[in-house]
Amino acid sequence: MRTVNSFVGQPIERLEDLRLVRGRGQFVDDLARKDVLYAAVLRSSVAHGRIRSIDVSRAEKMPGVHAVITAADLGEKIPVVPMRLQPLPDFEPFAQPVMARDKVRYVGEALAMALADSPALAEDAVGAIDVDIEPLPAVANWQSALNKHALLFDDKPSNVSMLFRAVLGDAAAAFNDAPYMRRERFSTQRHTALPMEPRGVLAEWDAARGRLTVSGAAKVLFANRRILAKQMGIAEDAIDMVEYDVGGGFGARGEFYPEDFLIPFAARHCGRPVKWTEDRREHLMTINHAREAACEVEIACRRDGTILGLRGHAFVDMGAYMRTNGAVGARNIAQFMSGPYRIPNIDLDVSLLLTNKTPVGTYRGPGRFETDFFRERLFDMVARDLGIDQVEFRRRNLVREAEMPYTVATIAPYESKDELDSGDYQVTLDRCLAEFGWADKAKLKGRCIDGRYQGVAVVCFIEGGAAGPKESARLVLESDGTVTVYMGSSGVGQGLETAFAQIAADAMEMPMERINRVLHGSTAYVSDGYGAYHSRSIVMGGSALLDAAKKLRELMRAEAARRLNCGADQVVLADERAKAPDGKSVSWAELASEPLAAEGAFHNHKHTWSYGAHAAHVAVDAKTGHVALVDYVAVENCGRMINPLTLKGQLVGAAVQGLGGAFMEHLVYDDNGQLLTGSLADYLVPTASDFPNIRGFMMESHPSPINPLGAKGAGEGGIISVGGVIANAVADALSSFGVEPRDLPLTPGAVWQLLQNARKAAE
């Protein structure tokens, strides 16, 4: 009997866990090499200034110090970190040099690097470098960036790196004769992904062969190899980028950072392996920041709540340079402010503003967390104005199934179009309300119970995934009849090995334990790869895997036909044997006396759109401003589930990460551009006791029409809604005071201040 598997869709326990729970994972800082030198980086303590001198003579003479590198050692032209996404020529002047030479533009920018026999000696050496910087006025926020209070780039007329515009329909006309309009201003605060594993790089230069091996790569190995090869002036195929276990990514880890050049450069410079691991203070001032945005937005509606148009202007604080993916969040704020809703006329500008702070990049749900907060906050205000129930307001405006594919706003100047692929957004909203118990909880709205004001809210979201253009996979039938899977995707701790083993076992029609290994995260495995971002690995990698399996099975049929003397199309592959019509058969192991291999690919230029709804119940202590989260429900439909266990892990984990952004996480700078939250004692993230009541529910229907798995990217949906739904629930709880939160985070102090302001206004 032929066995057809259905590992896909099952809550399979993860293969990765067997090593990780026993402390046998292998993270980059776990690697040891003979004769290794340790690097430490001297970072600017001045936010904006002109470098007068950097004197390394004392540091160089210290015992155990092998070399101290400054920009002067990097040659005439200092390499820069290029844009990976939206590589528009306009951004090029704002690229970050890998080490500062003339000017520093943020606290944390690299000035010099010491190489020594131990990490402690390297840090000692850094402390002995004498730096003289002439301070310049710091541009400490986006408002002063606009004022031209100071210019970050002397040869540029302003601190604006770009203006994006999102347009759909004719917003001006829609606003001209709208019966109802409301204008608001909202903001979200600077925070960051904070993966638990600090960044690290180990570089080894083989002078005899002219080869470089870089360990500790993550996320986008092939793209980073292209960047590094160009900067180092060597061929791409002379570099191996190797990924080990990765302690969390969330968009931030694995992008190309200055150290991704400096450490390999140092290895070649010194002729010895060089290792660098950042500490947490360095991490907080160097890894990509995110989410600092403000928006002036206006909505036009009919009196029945039908939305006619949305227009406005968003301002995004980019920090000091345009890094690899720095423009994505700003683009998304404008393009996806409409979310899952039918808003026929849109005109939104977004200014990308440079400031003397750490550069920004993507963080899980980039731009979407921000823009969903703006939109959903505005919607609750509008629904209240119009006397329409907040659920009904959303229901009326959600894009309907019959309208799919639904075109969203187009971005200028580079003409980025997009469309929602499939789904019934009403169903996830209904499910969320049912699981939450909306009918009962809504009765609590605004009531004060035991001194705490109760509030509830529900919001809807979409989550984009599956960025193209391509992903690669290679399957090898080994001589023992097992199959090895090589992927161009990258792991960042999300459980790819297990998910790919499930997909491969189903596609090959073989037991999962006969999938020998799933290997990803090396440029040596497949001809090219695109990595892990934009919730793309399952859709893109999984679809490439299906293609490779199809090709491998064709090869196996051809090989079996030769041995069994029949036509390839007559061979049946089942139960790990190849069978001919005459009953003769050969085992897969015998077929692969020489291993059989096939490479597959998946090309795609469209996006998948998971969707869902979140609901929250909060209780606010009006005396202290403390907000307790009484209940939280997140529902997401991702078309087709691969592993419900890991999917739920993504949903719930992302929701709690989002609660950090809604309530506590804030990278605070003072007026001089000094980072005031440079440790985990100051930068607060959720702990086990903060949010015990989170419930996640996954659904599958409406498989994506744009890929053979029917899957949709689903790593970010849990975070997108959180700011909006929490702020709406707080507004609901405090409606009797007239409190309307317009800014995140809602710390106890911020909520208390809102209450004070409301009380004063009422006097």
């Binding site: 026993r22 402390g23 046998r24 600090p198 701790g493 459980g495 985990l680 959720p686 086990a688």
Partner: protein, 160 residues
Amino acid sequence: MAIKFEVNGEPVEVEVEPRMSLADCLRHKLRLTGTHVGCEHGVCGACTVLVDGAAVRSCLMLAVQADGAKVITVEGLSRDEGLTPLQASFRKHHALQCGFCTPGMITTAHALLSEEPDCDADRVREVLSGNLCRCTGYISIVEAVLDARAAYQRGGGKGA
């Protein structure tokens, strides 16, 4: 300085600088890299090990302070190929994603369950609130620890 202590039941003798942390000593001198270093200032808990039975942040303790102590790291909880009931419970409940915080979570939870095998969810949350996880949202970790209580109530929670 030369120090002597016991790690995972084996006596070790190691030469360390006075300023070296216990975490760095375990990881880089003794090559026990299961103990992770996430913040080096005692907040994240990834480096938690057991010193004479108590859960301790090895990034805040100097290696020389471990002289004469009995240290157990995550590698010492399961000495063979099997998983301990706590480790198996972490896998079953999907209580880890990237796995970086996991050794600290498991050593902390092991210390808790060894002392208080009947603890409730609030107590688990209170104790684990000193260990940061950025992936799971903690819900599954708390479930995993609660589910592993039975093995400790029967005695020890030792490996399979």
